[in-house]
Structures are given as structure tokens and as C-alpha cells.
């Protein structure tokens, strides 16, 4: 059971239906299983990260929830509507998908591309909508440029503007920063953070773990089946024991006597020339006790910090676990 961040709970309101609710969803192409038994909820206003290696089924999940392909089994509710062929048009009215490839009409200008999509969505006041979308992605001054003359990063921004035209309830972003240099990727991050502040529900598939950690309220890790789901810190807690990293000027003479007697410390091991890693159940309780014990032992303390595992550690741990299981 995962908990939602406070920001998401505030955005979702009390008792609101989730923006996405997926139950045992599966998709099979002939003999090939794209994804299987996928279940999760995404609250309104949440930024939900969907991580997984190549071929894990991320894009197929997005396409399935976006009504582009039909699930083989399972059920889902998208933007408040059951995922059925009859609801496909209405679901597509309420959501927007930014595919991995921008898929722009390169011979048309930025504005012509956006006007075309505004018409497909039957957006009221399309000129105003297009202008607003262009301003949102800082492209108002390039409106009359042919898309074929734009850089990859700018094309990605046009694709994001296109996804914003319909004011979607749920926005699916499929690898929005793939192939972009760090500067442009950061610009796209800023745009996503801006949408997050406006309360747009975002379903983000990505390979970039630092991106997910920075942008997402919760993440799910998929490798054909759902491996784990939760807030990044929850996943860290599930997979890794908490630890304090202690650095001193010199090695302690009797580290077992210093650390072994502390109830807040479950275990310890040396780490480098003058360092120790202490396994603890609560770093906030353990750190002051460790500090006092070190000072009492006459140690010169350089630092006591909580060891933090990145989302990348979590991801690699889960994927490695799966590989080990598969090889057995």
C-alpha cells in the first residue's frame, strides 16, 4: 500500500476518483507478452513515473490507456471513464499523449501544426489556445518557422505544446527527454514542473531515473509485470536498510565498543580508511547517539550523514533481482 504525497492529496481533493485506475491489465501480441497483470491508481494532480528497461511494456501501456490499442485482459478507468471501445473517443477528448517521437508535420509551420490539432480537438477559440500553448513552451517567437527547420529540442517543445492544446485531464508523456542534451532536457523538466504546479495529472514514462526522482510524486517500475510502486523514498526503504555513514580523522581503536553498545545501532562495518557504515532503524534517533558516543571515545569526527540510495539503486536492485530470479 503506497501513500500519496501531501501535494497530491491536496490537488486531488477529498474523495475524488483517481485520474487513472488500472486493474490486472495485460496486452499480448500473438505469442509475445507486452505487459501483464499491471495494476495501479494515479491520483488527480499526481505526477506518476513509469520506469522500466527497453521492451518492458511502458509505451504499450501508454498506448493501451490512450485507447490506441486494445488490452487483451484486465480493466482500467481513464479520466473517469471505463476503458472500452465505446468510450474511446471521449477518453481521447479528455487526455493527451506526447509520443516518444514528436511526429510533427515538418513542412508546416509551428502554428500550422498546432492549429491543425486544435481543430482536431474542436478547441474553442483555437487562435487563443495555440497562442497560450506556444507561450507555455516559450515558442511564441518561432510560431511561423517550419517545423523541419527546428532543432530536436524545439520539436519536442512543439510536441509538448500540441499536447497542451486540449487542456487535458491526464497528460501522457512518453520518454519526453529521450535524445535531448542536458540543457534542453532541463528545459523540458521545467515545463513539466510548471504543469505539475497547475495540477495537471501527468503519466511520465522515462529511462532517466534522476528525471523520475526529480519530477515524480510516485514511480512504478515495470518489467513486463509491475515490479514495485511507491514514492521514491518508500521504495528505498522497502529495498535498503537505513544507514549512517561516519567519517573520522583516524580509525577508532575499539569501534565495536563504541558502536556495539548503542541501542539505536543494529550493526556496523568499516568503510574505507577512516569510515564506518552503521545500520540503523531510525537515522534521526541514531545520529545524535552516535555523535555523543564518538565524542566520548575521543574521536575526531569529520561527518555523520545518512546514506541515501538513489532511485537508480532501487531500479538496478529490482531489475537485477528479476534477472537473478529468471536465471535460476
Amino acid at each position: 500500500m503506497t501513500t500519496y504525497p501531501e501535494r497530491v492529496l491536496a490537488a486531488a481533493g477529498s474523495g475524488g476518483a483517481p485520474a487513472l485506475s488500472v486493474s490486472h491489465l495485460a496486452k499480448r501480441f500473438g505469442d509475445r507478452l507486452a505487459f501483464d497483470d499491471v495494476s495501479f491508481d494515479v491520483a488527480r494532480g499526481e505526477v506518476f513515473g513509469f520506469l522500466g528497461p527497453n521492451g518492458a511494456g511502458k509505451t504499450t501501456t501508454v498506448r493501451t490507456l490512450g485507447t490506441l490499442i486494445a488490452p487483451t485482459s484486465g480493466s482500467a478507468t481513464v479520466a473517469g471513464l471505463p476503458l472500452t471501445p465505446e468510450n474511446a473517443l471521449e477518453i481521447r477528448r479528455r487526455i493527451a499523449i506526447m509520443p516518444e517521437s514528436p511526429g510533427l508535420y515538418l513542412r508546416l509551420s509551428v502554428r500550422e501544426n498546432l492549429e491543425f490539432f486544435a481543430d482536431l480537438y474542436e478547441a474553442p477559440d483555437p487562435t487563443e489556445r495555440v497562442g497560450r500553448a506556444l507561450r507555455a513552451v516559450n515558442l511564441a517567437d518561432r510560431a511561423h518557422d517550419a517545423c523541419g527547420t527546428l532543432s530536436k529540442g524545439l520539436r519536442q517543445r512543439v510536441a509538448l505544446a500540441r499536447a497542451l492544446l486540449s487542456d487535458p485531464e491526464v497528460l501522457f508523456l512518453d520518454e519526453p527527454t529521450v535524445g535531448l542534451d542536458p540543457v534542453v532536457a532541463r528545459e523540458v523538466h521545467e515545463l513539466i514542473l510548471g504543469l505539475r504546479e497547475r495540477g495537471v495529472t501527468i503519466f511520465l514514462t522515462t529511462h532517466r531515473l534522476e528525471e523520475a526522482e526529480r519530477l515524480c510524486d510516485r514511480v512504478a517500475i515495470l518489467n513486463t509485470t509491475l515490479r514495485s510502486i511507491g514514492r521514491p523514498d518508500e521504495l528505498r526503504d522497502q529495498l535498503f536498510t537505513k544507514a549512517l555513514s561516519v567519517r573520522t580523522v583516524a580509525l577508532l581503536d575499539e569501534p565495536d565498543r563504541v558502536f556495539g553498545g548503542l541501542p539505536a545501532v543494529d550493526g556496523w562495518r568499516p568503510d574505507g580508511s577512516a569510515g564506518y557504515v552503521l545500520t540503523v532503524s531510525d537515522p534521526e534517533v541514531a545520529a545524535p547517539a552516535v555523535t555523543r558516543a564518538l565524542v566520548a571515545a575521543g574521536a575526531d569526527v569529520l561527518s555523520i550523514t545518512e546514506s541515501r540510495h538513489s532511485l537508480e539503486d532501487v531500479y538496478l536492485e529490482l531489475i537485477d533481482e528479476e534477472k537473478e530470479t529468471a536465471s535460476r
Binding site: 490506441l68 473517443l89 510533427l104 508535420y105 515538418l106 513542412r107 490539432f117 500540441r162
Partner: protein
């Protein structure tokens, strides 16, 4: 199902803009009208004054009906396969446009320039014959029944070619393959119009009415027949669900 004229218009407008700016589409669209304009003009201007009346045994205007058969195949074949090839199909399919509207927009976008080009070429041919050919040629070539048939059959033949081209385009992943197959599929129709033009098949009123009715029904049914062939899942993933 409510048809959104705004969405259909948007597709038509977008397609026409793309055609105009796509050099290979412009060239491919211009080739057949030029061939089927130059050939009859060559015949008309080479015939000696004394034998000009012999042109009356043929129906050169009907020979030019190959233009509305062949020209739209280039555009229709590009309709779906072209979008797929440039990666723009998936974003369009994520919008709330029903496939019927999408296909109708694509068909109209191919029909409008094809018919306009055909009528334009006919006008050039007629002007050349009236202004520059031997005096005996014009009465032999410009028979009112042929002109009426040409005007009426042009959109009907173009419609048929467009639906065949779109059907092939929806099942192809490569534009060139789609264009070649569409051209191949239009050969029987070109043969029929050519046989009629050279009097191998006698052009009677009954034949015209029957042929026209068949084409009209085929054009009206084309949309209904082609729509189910437009499978979103197969177009996006390359596999059937």
C-alpha cells in the same frame, strides 16, 4: 455518428498545404496530366487538314479520362502510408477524430486537386484545339456528348481511384510501394477508358449510365469499405491486436 465538418476541413487544409510543399508529390501529380495532355495534342497537331475528320472515329476527350484515374493514386497512396512513414500518424490517432472523418478528409484532399487538375488540362486541350488546330479538327474532336461524359466521369473515376489508393495506403508501410500498387490497381480502369476512347468498346448512352451508376455506388460504398481496413492498432504497432 455526428460528423465534424471542422475536423474534416482541418484534414483537407493540412493535406493541401503539405502537398503544395512536397516537391516529389507535386512532380508525381504533374506527370500523368502532362503525358495525357501532350499525347492527344501531338495527334491533333500532326493530322493533315485533309484527314482531320478521321479523328471523329475516336473519342480523344474520353482518352483523357485516364488523368482522373491516375493522378489521385499518387495522392491517395501517400495519405496513410506517408503519415506513418514520417511518424505523424500516431499523434493524429491520439486525438478524438473518428477514422471515418480522417479518411473522408484524406479522400477530399486528394479529390479536390485531382479534379481541378483534370478540368484544367481539359480546358488547355480544348483551348489549343479551338485556337491552334486545323479548322476541321475541332468539330471532329469536341463532340458535346464526349464533353459531358468527360465532365461527369472525372469526379467519379477520381473517387474510385482515391478509395483504392487509400485502402492500399492503409495496408502499406512504404509510400513508394503504396503508389506502385495503386497505379497497378488503376490499370484496368485506364484500359476501359482507353478501349472506349478508341472505339474498341462502343460508347453508348446505356454503357455510360451503367458505368456511371457502378462508379457512383462504388464511390459511396468506398468510404464504408475502407474504414474497417483502417486498424489503429495495426497501423501503430504493425501487428493486429
Amino acid at each position: 455518428m455526428r460528423m465534424s465538418t471542422r475536423r474534416v476541413r482541418a484534414i483537407v487544409r493540412k493535406e493541401l498545404r503539405e502537398y503544395r510543399r512536397h516537391r516529389s508529390v507535386v512532380v508525381a501529380t504533374a506527370i500523368f496530366p502532362l503525358i495525357f495532355l501532350i499525347q492527344p495534342l501531338f495527334v491533333v497537331f500532326r493530322v493533315p487538314s485533309a484527314t482531320a475528320a478521321t479523328l471523329g472515329q475516336w473519342h480523344l476527350l474520353l482518352y483523357m479520362l485516364a488523368i482522373p484515374v491516375l493522378t489521385p493514386t499518387m495522392l491517395a497512396a501517400y495519405a496513410v502510408a506517408g503519415e506513418r512513414q514520417q511518424g505523424s500518424l500516431e499523434p493524429v490517432l491520439t486525438t478524438p477524430i473518428p477514422r471515418e472523418e480522417f479518411l473522408l478528409g484524406k479522400a477530399l484532399a486528394a479529390l479536390v486537386p485531382s479534379v481541378a487538375i483534370a478540368y484544367g488540362v481539359y480546358a488547355v486541350f480544348l483551348a489549343c484545339v479551338v485556337l491552334f488546330a486545323q479548322p476541321a479538327v475541332a468539330p471532329a474532336v469536341l463532340r458535346p456528348s464526349d464533353v459531358v461524359a468527360q465532365v461527369l466521369f472525372t469526379p467519379l473515376l477520381a473517387g474510385w481511384s482515391i478509395w483504392v489508393g487509400i485502402a492500399i495506403s492503409a495496408r502499406s508501410s512504404d509510400v513508394r510501394v503504396a503508389q506502385q500498387l495503386s497505379l497497378l490497381a488503376s490499370v484496368p480502369l485506364v484500359l476501359v477508358t482507353s478501349f472506349i476512347a478508341f472505339d474498341v468498346i462502343a460508347p453508348t448512352l446505356g454503357l455510360a449510365v451503367g458505368f456511371g451508376a457502378v462508379l457512383l455506388i462504388a464511390d459511396a460504398m468506398g468510404w464504408r469499405i475502407v474504414a474497417p481496413m483502417f486498424d489503429r492498432e495495426r497501423l501503430i504497432t504493425g501487428t493486429r491486436g
